[in-house]
Symmetry: C2
Subunit: 183 residues, 2 copies
């Protein structure tokens, strides 16, 4: 049993880190509460004139390194690992990779420990990674391979609720995985 | 046709960069000419007491970013790409990833251009990447998947000459790929 786990929005609290920085910088301004987010990319939930300010936060030094862990994620990953599942952290860096690439490595080392650094796969195309399951909050995961080997299970987020796929959280993950045909 | 191309020793001149830095720093000291290298890891070709000095060079800032391109590699990659082959640059970062991870991205952007950055896959385990061919100078490429989908073709180097596998260089790559059963 091999499982690919996405990082932002699944184990790393991207939404929380963004909103914390946004509200700190623009305390009286417009913002979208996390539960009201409807677009996968946070920038698409903000008006056009504010989008440069959104990018500014996502690209600044420390953004990726300082996210907190999604509650329950560490325990879930460690339990999967201890049960002999092959776990890989499979994440796509931003095109503007200057801060994000190294910070993703540092983040995994800080929150999960050095052994987990070896399980990182950085790729813009997840469809060619062979696994049984991909846990990802992105509504559609596409790439060059039209028939990926994995079943895509959504990590449940407000912005992916319209999608008709199996979904899980770090509270119900065991039940959801057991219900997968791949297990 | 999907081909994974390793970076160090295949498209990036790791050996040349190491030896240049080594001889500059230790001009009168011991060194191993590139054609006399017999071990995959350069550090294993140096006496125990010199190994910390080898590591010092590999881990220093700028080592990965400043390698030159292996002659013919750029032309070969661009020709494969223009012929519609799906090319990915599939590379394993050092465990001490502090400089190497970001510099690999910068290197690809500098030598191949921004479009190629999207083709980078950073992974310590290449066996779970689905492709027809892996071009890699490492004698044995192993990981969790015991039956990788790719055929491993060696990039010909002095330190992998004992291995009984198909091998290529950027001079004969077209003939060698044509002889593969995967083409």
């Amino acid at each position: 049993m091999r499982i690919l786990i996405d990082m932002d929005g699944v184990i790393a609290d991207f939404e929380g880190e963004f909103l914390r920085r946004w509200r700190e910088r623009h305390p009286a301004g417009f913002y979208v509460p996390i539960e009201n987010r409807t677009k996968f990319h946070v920038i698409d939930d903000y008006p056009h004139e504010l989008q440069p300010l959104v990018s500014e936060i996502l690209l600044e030094s420390g953004f990726f390194e300082n996210m907190v862990m999604v509650p329950g994620a560490k325990e879930a990953l460690e339990e999967m690992d201890s049960k002999g599942m092959e776990i890989f952290i499979c994440t796509s860096p931003l095109s503007t990779y200057g801060n994000c690439v190294l910070e993703k490595y540092k983040w995994v080392e800080k929150f999960l420990g050095p052994a987990w650094v070896k399980k990182i796969i950085l790729t813009r195309d997840k469809t060619i990674i062979r696994a049984d399951i991909l846990i990802d909050d992105r509504p559609e995961v596409t790439g060059v391979e039209k028939e990926p080997s994995w079943e895509h299970i959504l990590y449940d987020r407000s912005y992916n609720r319209g999608i008709n796929k199996k979904r899980l959280t770090w509270e119900n993950w065991k039940d959801i995985l057991l219900s997968s045909q791949r297990v």
